[in-house]
Each structure stands twice: as C-alpha cells, then as structure tokens.
Amino acid sequence: MSLEEIVKDLAVTEQDQHLTFDLSEEELAVPVMNIREIIRYGKLTKMPMVPNFIEGVINLRGNVVPVINLAEKFALNRHNSDKRTCIIIMEIDIDDESVVMGIVVDKVLQVIEIPDSDIEPTPTLGAKIQTNFIKGMARTEDGFIIILDISQVLSAEEVAIVSNMHKNNAVEE
C-alpha cells in the first residue's frame, strides 16, 4: 500500500482504527485518533544535551516539533533511515495540554480496524518492549501486532527526563 493510500485511510478517524507500522522487525500499531499526519523522514535539527531517544526537531509549517526515535526509546536495533522511513506526527494530551510530537518508524503499513474486544492483554514475558508502553496485542493472520499505549510512551514523566537532564548536569558540574 502506498503512503498516499494510507494517508487517505487516515481520514476515517473512528475509535477502532489503528495505523500499523514496522519498527526494527516488530509490527506495531497506534490509534488513528492521535495521528495528525505522516511525513517522510527528512533532515532534522539535532538537539544538544538531550537523551538519545530524542532524534531532534523539525519545522512543521512554522511550528517546531520534537521527534522521538522509538527504536532508541525501546532499546531495539536501530535501522538506518531509507526512503520508506517516516515520521508519524501525533497529538497527545499531557497534563491537559495538547502536545504535538513526531515518532520515527521504519515503514508505515496500513490502517486496520482493531476492535477493543480483539485486543488481548500484554503477556508479562517475551515482549521486547517494556510492558508499560504496551496497551495490548492483537492477533492477525500474520501474527501479533503490538498496540502501543502512545500517551504512556510520550507521557509527562517520560518527556520530563529532558527537563531533569540539565539539573543532573548542574549537580555534576
């Protein structure tokens, strides 16, 4: 499925719709509700003095948007970017404040319907990704899809690491 077709599917923002994507040999999904748009991976501005999972920032029509590298965040094997690498721009609420962030993925796959009833609880063992970032698993013909709890991934405490970083630096100095 081409990126254009997927973007068209995104327009249907129903509760159960999920966007699936590849990330370091894993098939993951995020709810379409939180997705603003998908853009191709381009040049980013690197940020100094931040944790490695922050890939950098991009200019999205005049707004500066932070981009998170999920592979780095989940401690997976990081793939080099190619022409299929994308940034999914997501909008989530952190402490009642709407925050726009991007996540880097290797390849977007498709928009599929995953009703809540099909989502199984996360097995405590065997997942490569920290379980608190996972909302559940969904079974498909090809195997399992991991549905991310995206607000947890980009949550206040996680993001706040950036805010605390410099304080730690300051103590060390």
Binding site: K43, T45, K46, M47, P48, M49, V50, N52, I54, V57, I58, N59, G62, N63, V64, P66, I94, E97, V99, M101, V159, A160, V162, S163, N164, M165, H166, K167, A170, E173
Partner: protein
C-alpha cells in the same frame, strides 16, 4: 450580568480612573491640601458615578455618591485633609474597584464593608467643623453661588436654580438616558418643577424614533455649586444647557430666551450657557475687544476672559473654570486623536504574522541569491528593508513603559509600612523604560513579592534604624534601565541586609546543600531562591503568602530572565532582575557547530574573530585564552553541547584540525566570554519560538527559530551561559582563597 462592549469600556475606564484616583490620593497625602489634586480625585469619582448611571448600576452610584459628597466637602474646605481621611478614601477606592470587578458576576459588593466605609466617611462629614478649613482666599462657598456684580434690585427673588436643557438629537444613539440625568439632579436637591418643552418634536411622519427631541425647563432647589450641576451633563449630548443660580440678574433670564443654539464653544458662549454672563454683556465686551483690535493692539493680549475680569463683569474663578474647561476639551480632543485603543489579542496576531513574514522573507532572500537576477535582487532588497521596518514598528507597539507597574507600589509600600509601623519611602528611577507588554504583565507579581520581602525582612523598625545610626525612614528604590538587549530592574533597600553565614546554616539545616559544598557569598545569597528555602518560620501576612522565592525565580526564568541578590550586612540588599526586551523577534547572529546552526542574540555579540594558532593551542588545554593581553574565559560549545556522545572523540579530533577556529565574544552585564564555534554564517532575523513542553528544562537556550532554509535552529541564552562560566570560576577562585587562608592557619567559618 451580561457584559457587552460598552460595559467593558466602562469597566476598563473606571479602572484607569481609580488608578488615577489612587495616585492623586498619594500625592495629596504628600502635599497636604491641594485644590488641584482634590479636584482631580473628585472628577474621577464623579465620572465613575456618571458612567455607572448610564448602565443603571445603582449600587455603584449609591456608594460613589457618598464618596463624591465627601470629596466635594473637601473641595469646599469643609473637611480638612487628613491622613486618616485619605486612608478611608483609599479603602473606598478599593471598594469601588471590587464593585467594578463584580459587575460581570452580578456581585454587588460586601454590604458590611460598604456600611463600615459609609459610616467612616460620614463620620468625617459630621466631625468636620462647619467653618471652612482652608485659608481665607478660598473660592466661593456653597451657599453663595457666583453672580454678576450688578445692582441687587435687578436680581430675581427665586430661591432655586433654573436649568434650561435641550438634549442633542443623538442622545439616544450615544446611549444616554435622560432619566438618569434627572436621577442625578434629584440627588443634588429637590426638583421643584420640570416643564417639558415639546417644540422640537417634528410631525409624526418626519420623526426618527432613534432621535431625541426632548427639552425641559427645570427648577431645582439645591445649595450645591453651579459646576456640580453642570457636571451632570458634562458627557451627555446636550444641544443647549443654561443653569441660572438663585437670585440671578433679570437680564440673564431675558437673554436666556434669546439664546442661540449651540455653535462654536467660544469662551463667551460657555459663560452664557453657564449663566454667568448675558449675551448682552458679551456683546458689549466683544464690541470693546473689536475696538481695541482696530486700535492696533494685539488680540492675544486681550483674551475675552481677561477683558471680562477687567470689566468686573464676572468673577475670576468663573473665568478660570471656563478657561480650564476649554483647555480640557481641547486636550481631550487631542488625546482622542493621538491614541487608539486596540485589543492586545489583535496585536499578538500582528506580531505572529510579522514573524511569519520575516521567516518567509529570509527564505525568499536565499532563493534570490541562488537565482541571481538583478531585478529580483533589487526588489528583494526593498522588501527586506520594509520588512525590517515593519518588524521594528510591530514590536514597538507592544512596548510599554514600566512606570505604571512601578507606581502601583507606592500604595503597597504606604499600606504595608503602616501595618508594620515602619517608615518607608519609595524612590523610582527609569519609570519610562519600555518593555514588552507580555513581560510587564508577568513581572508584576514577582516584583510585588520581592518588594513585600524587602519591606518585611529588609527595612528595620525606626528605633532600630536610629540605634545603628541610620535615618528612621527607610528607602526602597525601584530602578529600571536598558542594557544591550536586556532590561535590568533593581529593588534596592537600605535595610539590615542578609547574613550569608546564617543563610548557609539554614540551607544546611533544610538539606538543600551538604556540609562539604563550598559556596561564595553570592551563592549563599542566591540560596534564598532555592526550592524549599522559604519556610513557615518566615511566613507573615506581608511576605509569606504561600509563594516561595523559588516561585519568583521560576516566574522570572520563564520570561528568559535572571535574578540575583547582593547584600551587605547592615547596609542593605539589592535584588537585580534581568529581562529580555522582547520575547518575539530578535536580530541574531548565525554560527554553525557540527553543521547545525545556532543563533546568538546580536545585541550581545561583542566581536567575532578567527583564532591564531597560538590561541588554538592555548584553548585546547585550558578554559581561557589571552586576547589583547586580557584573559578571556572561553567555552568550547561543541564540548559543552556534547551533541553526539558516541562520535564525540572522533569528530573532536577532526574538527580541531579543520574548522573550529572561530570565536564569538559575547558580553553581558560587563562580563565577557568567548564561545568557540565552527563557522560564522552572518546576521539573521530570528523569530523566537518557545522551547515548548518537551525542552523547557533545557538551560543555555532561549528558544527555537526557523531559518530561511526551513531548518530549525536553537537560540542561545547568553546570560545563562555566562552565569555558568562565571559561577564555576567563582567557585574555583573561592576554593583557592580558602586553601591559602587555611594554610596560614586562620580558622575561618564560611
């Protein structure tokens, strides 16, 4: 109540008037009796009452009316000005402010407070002696209204005012209600008779239902002064108004009938309309004036007013009043011409748009350079210049003087010093220093907190001050001034100062620092701003309002500002706040480090230079270089940022050989440091975007900006960089000092 636009205007104007009232009250306290100031206060109260009448806000009218009465008595010297009275008036002014505030929520004020205030106010009235409190030269008292000095036999025997009123055709369109005018008249006395004059009403076919054709002849029994009656109609659209005091000369009544409808508001006309002068008399005067001009005398020396006085037709005060009114009307006209009130939301939108323009302009500029078309380049040059000017103007719109914010503290200091039984004077310098409106709005609360602290903990009690040989009256100085790209605000008190050892002890106790931490004196002072430092022990109703000093610091830092404390025990404390001039757009200087762009605020760039091989060598082993025989501390920005940890060593080697030859020397607060960068890329205009939720904790950066290429770049926060370098330097020197002292065998408690 539903808040429509007009009420909104009433509220905001009311707030301005109250502000004016407060300033005047403070001035009155300073100067003692001053007619001009009392008049100003009276006018403010009166205008609020009048406008409240337009909206039928009876509770506001009721209370302001009582305040106005007292002020009127002050004006007429029936009540002497006293500090107690001013205190009550200030409380009344605060109360009116709460009434204004409450309009939106239909809150009609705290009735017990109102009753208390009314009681206090009226106590002055009855307590005041009946004899005028002012000097003999005073203007005519109430019960003796000004009248022409003509033969008494020709005067009417009436005991009441005669008011001849014709409302303007636009009265209703302007939102005035004749009923409210009558209400106000009834407040002043008894309306004996009001005869409606229907003459102006056209045939039903020609009548416009929105127009006003009303007029009255009114007899009012009252012992107030004429000006007070005419004040009622001051703002309304009145096509003709004549107020004749009791026992007026017959001829005035005669000429009232002959009067023309309103024309040019010449002085003579004002006098006619207020009934001080008849048209006949005016005619006589005008004839004389004409004769003199014809005789070759310059007209300017024979203003109508002078001639009237010369001829003893009217009293001096009446002429003065009329002249004042004329000037006032003219001034108001000018003011209205020179200022436009704009919704600040619109201004913000404008600034944002200008920001977009600047970014796109930079982009276009870059494209122009690649295309190399002469015509395009010329156009671009013109466009760039206009853009720059547009930016300057747009940013200028948001700049407001800090004086307003400063003046607020007169009252705060007055009230608090009374509460604390301290004597404190406020001195203000640099009130006209301009600062971005957003910054001004947000700096008020931190300033308030700092000043409360100085009042409470800084300035000593008068007897204590005298014991140590200081004047009993303490001084708090508020000072604002510009410094390259920044503004500094200082709060200076001449109080007891801070004991840095005590502060250190306390911080140890609270576990904010540990035993081994060496601190400079300066660092000890700044402990005050550490989270968890201000504690319950210090809480009083003055300074400890649940907000710690750490909140103050955070608020200031959220404006990209800094705050420092300096103090000398027994001499006083100086708190310095540094704030950026604007939060929106700056002139920047673009440099690159590892192919990423970084922007320096141009204001703070002192010079740029390429390092000599000797300096490079020097820089690679230590954190300073020798520049023109001076030692300059430097930061290797690349190392400081540590942009990519893993490749760090590799790139460091290649870059030291290759590009990192350039040094940007920045200066702030008389401190200079050098920053080593790869390449110097030149000037840019940078629209500053906030660091946002994710990066707000990142120190050393003021925000993001978007370059002409569309790439995002970080804007450096020079003051915080300098603070870091200088801070660690202090520590270094301090530890050296400690060592040398220790080696001499002295025991020093730090």
């Amino acid at each position: 109540m539903e808040i429509d636009e007009n009420i909104q205007i009433f509220i905001s104007e009311g707030e301005e008037l109250l502000q004016e009232m407060e300033e005047s009250l403070l001035a009155l306290e300073e100067s003692g009796d001053d007619d001009e100031i009392i008049n100003k206060i009276f006018r403010a109260a009166h205008t609020i009452k009048g406008s409240a009448g337009l909206f039928g806000l009876d509770h506001i009218i009721h209370f302001t009316h009582i305040v106005e009465n007292i002020l009127d008595d002050m004006r007429n010297c029936l009540i002497p000005t006293s500090s107690e009275l001013i205190t009550v008036l200030m409380r009344s002014q605060d109360y009116i402010a709460t009434l204004l505030d409450g309009i939106a929520d239909d809150f009609e004020g705290d009735k017990t407070e109102e009753a208390e205030l009314i009681q206090l106010l009226t106590a002055f009235k009855t307590g005041g002696s009946e004899t005028p409190a002012c000097e003999a030269e005073q203007i005519t008292p109430d019960d003796n209204p000004p009248s022409s000095e003509n033969d008494e036999e020709e005067h009417t025997q009436t005991e009441h005012y005669h008011i001849s009123l014709r409302l303007g055709i636009d009265t209703f369109r302007q939102g005035f209600d004749p009923a409210s005018m009558f209400r106000e008249l009834a407040d002043l006395g008894e309306i004996v008779e009001a005869v409606f004059i229907p003459n102006a009403i056209p045939d039903l076919d020609d009548m416009d239902p929105e127009s006003c054709y009303l007029g009255w002849e009114i007899a009012l029994k009252s012992n107030v002064r004429k000006e007070i009656i005419s004040d009622i109609f001051q703002f309304s659209d009145v096509s003709q108004l004549t107020i004749l005091p009791p026992q007026t000369h017959f001829s005035e009544y005669k000429h009232l009938i002959e009067q023309l409808p309103e024309e040019e508001m010449a002085l003579g006309q004002i006098l006619i309309q207020t009934g001080s002068l008849t048209a006949d008399e005016l005619q006589r005067i005008l004839n004389q004036q004409q004769e003199k001009i014809e005789a070759g005398e310059p007209a300017s020396q024979n203003r109508t007013g002078d001639m009237l006085v010369e001829n003893k037709v009217v009293q001096k005060e009446v002429v003065k009043e009329a002249l004042n009114k004329q000037t006032k009307v003219r001034e108001q006209k000018q003011k209205a011409l020179n200022f436009v009130k704009v919704d600040s939301g619109k201004l913000d939108k404008l600034i944002n748009l200008v920001g977009e323009l600047v970014i796109n302009g930079a982009k276009l500029n870059q494209i122009t350079e690649t295309i190399q078309n002469e015509e395009l380049e010329e156009t671009m040059e013109g466009l760039t210049m206009s853009l720059e000017e547009l930016r300057e103007i747009a940013l200028g719109l948001r700049m407001v003087p800090i004086g307003m914010t400063f003046n607020r503290f007169h009252r705060v200091i007055r009230d608090i010093s009374r509460d604390l039984d301290k004597q404190i004077k406020l001195e203000i310098y640099g009130a006209d220093t301009e600062l971005d409106k957003t910054v001004i709005e947000k700096i008020g609360d931190p300033l308030m907190h700092l000043i409360r602290n100085s009042l409470d903990h800084g300035i000593e009690m008068p007897d204590e001050r005298q014991r140590v040989g200081k004047p009993a009256e303490g001084i708090i100085t508020l000072k604002a001034q510009h410094e390259a790209g920044y503004i500094t605000i200082q709060i200076i008190d001449d109080g007891k100062g801070l004991d840095h050892n005590a502060l250190r002890e306390k911080a140890l106790e609270k576990g904010i620092i540990d035993e081994h931490k060496k601190l400079t004196k300066q660092e000890c002072f700044n402990l005050i701003f550490a989270a968890g430092f201000s504690t319950a022990e210090q809480v009083s109703n003055i300074s400890g309002r649940g907000v710690g000093m750490d909140v103050v610091r955070r608020n200031i830092e959220s404006l990209r500002g800094n705050v420092y404390i300096d103090s000398e025990l027994g001499v006083g404390t100086t708190i310095t706040i540094q704030l950026p001039l604007t939060l929106a757009i700056i002139d920047g200087f673009n440099v690159s480090i590892d192919d990423e762009s970084y922007i320096f605020p141009l204001d703070m760039v002192h010079e740029c230079l390429t390092l000599t091989p000797a300096q490079i060598k020097e820089a690679s082993v230590q954190n300073y270089i020798t520049l023109r025989e001076d030692v300059l501390p430097i930061i290797h920005l690349k190392e400081y940022f540590d942009v990519d940890n893993e490749q760090y060593n590799e790139t460091y080697m290649t870059h030291t050989d290759r590009e990192r030859h350039n040094l940007v020397v920045v200066e702030f607060s008389n401190k200079k440091i050098g920053l080593v960068v790869d390449e110097l890329l030149g000037e840019v205009q940078a629209v500053i975007k906030p660091l946002g939720r994710v990066f707000k904790g990142l120190s050393g950066f003021a925000g993001f900006t978007i370059l002409g290429s569309g790439m995002v770049a970080l804007v450096l926060d020079i003051p915080s960089l300098i603070k870091r370098v200088v801070g660690s330097e202090h520590q270094y020197f301090d530890s050296l000092k400690q060592k040398s002292i220790a080696s001499k065998g002295n025991s020093i408690v730090h």
